[in-house]
């Protein structure tokens, strides 16, 4: 099977935008095609990663709308919804479309428009993914984070400050990302003294509500070579699920979907955690960066919190995590986030990350939906 390449990538400004979902998607889609020098009518498959455009703004049918707005007809289109992991699931769908031979040019655009809603309304839209037995108690994704963070800190005798240092690190990284929602450093005292959102987690442990879009252009490696030398290949990709009801998991501090998707992605790539040079993890909450870093095999269970304390995951560390600023600083427009994670890894392995550049031949992105309910892990390698 010929390897699947990513030969183009784009992302819009993340933050509070004054345009609606169709315009956000078109902005990233046009930029991706223009940057790659590919005409819209060359697109054979067009996927849109999006969680809730119908719930957020009453616009459904956005994949067909985008095909028209990009003049990409008669491309086959589909919308991919896997809640917060819609972006990663879209990468998987786009990879499948090329790997299967069904398409020689697949455009993936992920996006979400959220900031016109209040925090309470947006929280409820996201919480609607929960089981009825959870939803009726007012359980939200931030409350899962608080429950899990307390369990982790108590079980592994980890200091609360370690989670705060993840926020500090990712805000520092975001300063150098021109697309990030927050390009401002924060200090540890600010994080630890910010208002409680879900005890023991505070405001700066959480990502913001964000508008934004990102896009990737996928094709067979032989086609990519016709356009550019600056492409990446997807060497491993897999998705997995865990229980819908979060409290039923045997170990609340282990995300089974991360473990299972990573195992399969590593197997496909004939690689392991030691081969990863840079990673984008789904730090919707600071505790999630710790859990994923352990469940991906980077660190032993219960030891992941030490990595940020020791500088291992800093940009100049042995394993930089979230050089983009992560969801924490860059922002989290639900359907766009998994696509934007791969955008950052693509930039890193092709040497195009500018001031954020690290020495990376292999990169990994882990996109998490729900509270680990659905996960996609993607491994990229730079062209050699």
């Amino acid at each position: 099977m010929e390897r699947v390449a990513i030969m183009g990538a784009s992302m819009t400004q993340f933050g509070q935008r004054d345009v609606w979902i169709r315009d956000l998607l078109a902005e990233a889609g046009h930029a991706c095609l223009d940057g790659a020098g590919v005409a819209p009518d060359a697109v054979e498959h067009l996927y849109v990663s999006n969680m809730a455009s119908g719930e957020f703004e009453g616009q459904t049918g956005i994949s067909n709308a985008l095909a028209h707005d990009l003049a990409a007809m008669p491309a086959y289109t589909a919308r991919v919804d896997q809640t917060s992991a819609s972006g990663g699931a879209g990468v998987y769908a786009a990879w499948q479309s090329v790997a299967s031979g069904a398409s020689d040019m697949t455009l993936l655009v992920g996006g979400e428009r959220m900031t016109h809603r209040t925090t309470a309304e947006a929280t409820d839209v996201i919480a609607s993914l929960t089981h009825p037995a959870e939803y009726k108690h007012g359980v939200t994704l931030p409350s899962f984070a608080g429950l899990t963070a307390r369990r982790y800190l108590e079980r592994y005798d980890a200091p609360r400050e370690a989670l705060g240092k993840i926020a500090v690190k990712n805000h520092r990284n975001g300063v150098d990302n021109p697309h990030a929602q927050f390009r401002k450093e924060v200090d540890l005292d600010t994080v630890l003294e910010s208002p409680i959102v879900a005890d023991p987690l505070r405001l700066y442990d959480f990502c913001p509500i964000t508008d934004g879009s990102a896009a990737l252009l996928l094709c067979p490696e032989s086609v990519a070579r016709e356009y550019t030398d600056a492409y990446a290949t997807i060497s491993g990709i897999a998705g997995a699920t865990d229980t819908h009801v979060v409290h039923e998991r045997a170990d609340p501090t282990t995300m089974g979907g991360v473990v299972d998707s990573a195992d399969e992605a590593y197997r496909m790539a004939d690689a392991g955690p030691d081969d990863v040079d840079v990673a984008e993890l789904h730090d919707m909450f600071t505790i999630l960066e710790v859990l994923q870093s352990e469940d991906l095999g980077f660190f032993e269970k219960g030891e992941g919190w030490r990595a940020v304390e020791e500088g291992v995951t800093h940009r100049d560390g042995d394993l930089p995590i979230n050089t983009s600023g992560g969801l924490k600083s860059k922002g989290h427009p639900l359907g766009a986030s998994g696509v934007a994670q791969v955008y950052e890894v693509y930039k890193q392995v092709t040497g195009a990350a500018g001031p954020r550049q690290v020495d990376a031949g292999t990169g990994l992105a882990c996109n998490v939906g729900g509270f680990g309910n659905c996960v996609t892990t993607t491994i990229l390698e730079g062209a050699v």
Binding site: A120, S143, L147
Partner: protein, 139 residues
């Protein structure tokens, strides 16, 4: 209500004497889940129920959420608790019926007719039950 007599969304059932119950499903391998599922952890359909309201539980972890969605009390203290049903563990999540709780505390289920305002959130009010059990620390 399912054919097995459990409320599939974790809502309370009414027993013959009218008292609400907190029914967990029991599966052929002895495992329990709350809420009940059509297929259990071992891949088999449930064969019965256990009323967890007759048991006490231990708090595994807890949080107090201050950013609550429409129709939810603010703040909202939640806990994951674990019951020991004759040696078989089963966990549940729910609101805490007290100002404070700690990990390791013993709690008991207490019935609440309406845990949040069904009309205020995004979910269709008729799509699920809104009553259930909070957890109250046992002195």
């Amino acid at each position: 209500m399912s054919e097995h007599g459990q409320a599939p969304d974790g809502g309370a059932d009414a027993t013959n004497d009218g008292e609400p119950t907190m029914d967990a499903a029991r599966y052929p391998d002895g495992s329990l889940t709350y809420p009940p599922h059509p297929i259990g952890p071992g891949g088999q359909e449930p064969v019965g129920t256990v009323d967890l309201s007759e048991y006490v539980a231990e708090v595994v972890t807890w949080t107090t959420s201050t950013a609550t969605p429409p129709g939810v009390r603010q703040p909202n203290t939640l806990a994951i608790v674990e019951f020991d049903v004759d040696g078989e563990p089963v966990r549940a999540i729910g609101q805490v019926a007290a100002d404070a709780v700690e990990t390791g505390d013993t709690v008991r289920p207490v019935y609440c007719e309406e845990l949040r305002d069904p009309e205020a959130g995004i979910r269709e009010p008729e799509s699920q039950a809104w009553d259930g059990f909070r957890f109250e620390p046992v002195a």
